[in-house]
C-alpha cells in the first residue's frame, strides 16, 4: 500500500485531528553567535497532533540525510514510510533534531548549557529585554563541567 506524499498526509490529518498545544518549549543558544539572545523553539500544534497520532511523519533520519541533498534534487523524507505514534517527549526530541542545527544539539563540546527543554510556563511571557535572554547556568552544572 502506498503512503503517498507527506504533504498530502499533513493536509488530510489537519482535517481530522484536533491541534495539540505542547506543554514544552526548547530554549537554545547558537554557539556560532554567542552574543545573540537565546532562541525559543515552539512546536506547531498541528504537527504535534500528527506526531502523537502516528503514521503521518517520516523517520527523523530521512530529514538528516536530506540536509546533504542539493536543492532541486529528489529528497527522501516526503516519500518515506511514516513512523508510528510518538509520546510528547519523543516528539520534542524529534523536533530538536529536525529544526535545530546539529551544532547545538550534537556537536557542541563547550562547558555552557546551551539547550534546555522547559515547561512553557518557564518561558517569560513578558518580553522585556527579549534580545538579551540567556539560558541560566546552574552552579552545579558548572562544577560538573
Amino acid at each position: 500500500m502506498t503512503h503517498g506524499h507527506l504533504w498530502d498526509r499533513l493536509a488530510e490529518a489537519k482535517s481530522r485531528l484536533d491541534p495539540v498545544q505542547s506543554k514544552y518549549r526548547v530554549v537554545f543558544e547558537d554557539p556560532a553567535t554567542p552574543d545573540e539572545a537565546a532562541k525559543v523553539l515552539v512546536p506547531d500544534p498541528n504537527w504535534m497532533a500528527c506526531a502523537l497520532e502516528g503514521n503521518i511523519l517520516p523517520p527523523i533520519d530521512t530529514y538528516q540525510r536530506d540536509r546533504d541533498v542539493p536543492d532541486g534534487q529528489p529528497k527522501e523524507h516526503p516519500y518515506a514510510k511514516p513512523i508510528g505514534a510518538m509520546t510528547e517527549e519523543e516528539a520534542i526530541e524529534y523536533l530538536i533534531m529536525k529544526d535545530i542545527c546539529p551544532s547545538v544539539w550534537r556537536d557542541y563540546k563547550g562547558n555552557r548549557t546551551i539547550m534546555k527543554i522547559v515547561p512553557v510556563e518557564l518561558v517569560p511571557s513578558d518580553r522585556s529585554f527579549r534580545n538579551a535572554w540567556k539560558i541560566k547556568q546552574e552552579a552545579d552544572e558548572r562544577i560538573a563541567a
Partner: protein, 118 residues
C-alpha cells in the same frame, strides 16, 4: 484516502487544468501571535516556530520545498514585514518592524508560501 486523477476540472462552462489548481495552492501557511510566549493560531505544513528575539521569527516546514525559489507573502498587524535570517528549503526567517524601523512583536503575523514541494 482515495485519489482523483484528472487533467482538468470543469463546472460545465469553464475548464481549468488540475496543475493550475495544484501549483496555485499555498503549500504552507501560519497565523501566529508574535507577542508573549509566541504561538500559532492555525497552520498547515509547519513543524515549529522559532522565536529568535524581538520581531524575529523562523518558520520551519514539515514537508520541505524543492528549492529556495518559493514565494513568500507576509503581513503583520501594525507592522512591516520582511524575510531575514535563515532562508532554506525547510525554513524561512521572518521579521517585523514598526513605522520607525525598529523590530517589534506583532499580535498577528500571517505567513504564506507558494512553491514546489520536494
Amino acid at each position: 484516502m482515495s485519489t482523483l486523477n484528472v487533467s482538468n476540472i470543469t463546472d460545465g462552462t469553464t475548464t481549468v487544468g488540475t496543475s493550475y489548481v495544484v501549483n496555485g495552492s499555498a503549500k504552507a501557511w501560519v497565523n501566529f501571535n508574535g507577542t508573549g510566549t509566541i504561538a500559532a493560531r492555525d497552520s498547515l505544513n509547519l513543524s515549529s516556530l522559532g522565536d529568535n528575539g524581538t520581531g524575529q521569527y523562523q518558520v520551519n516546514y514539515t514537508s520541505s520545498f524543492s528549492t529556495v525559489g518559493y514565494s513568500v507573502e507576509g503581513v503583520a498587524s501594525a507592522a512591516l514585514t520582511d524575510v531575514g535570517g535563515t532562508v532554506s528549503v525547510s525554513a524561512t526567517g521572518r521579521r517585523s518592524y514598526n513605522d520607525a524601523g525598529t523590530l517589534t512583536d506583532p499580535t498577528y503575523y500571517y505567513h504564506t508560501v507558494h512553491g514546489d514541494l520536494a
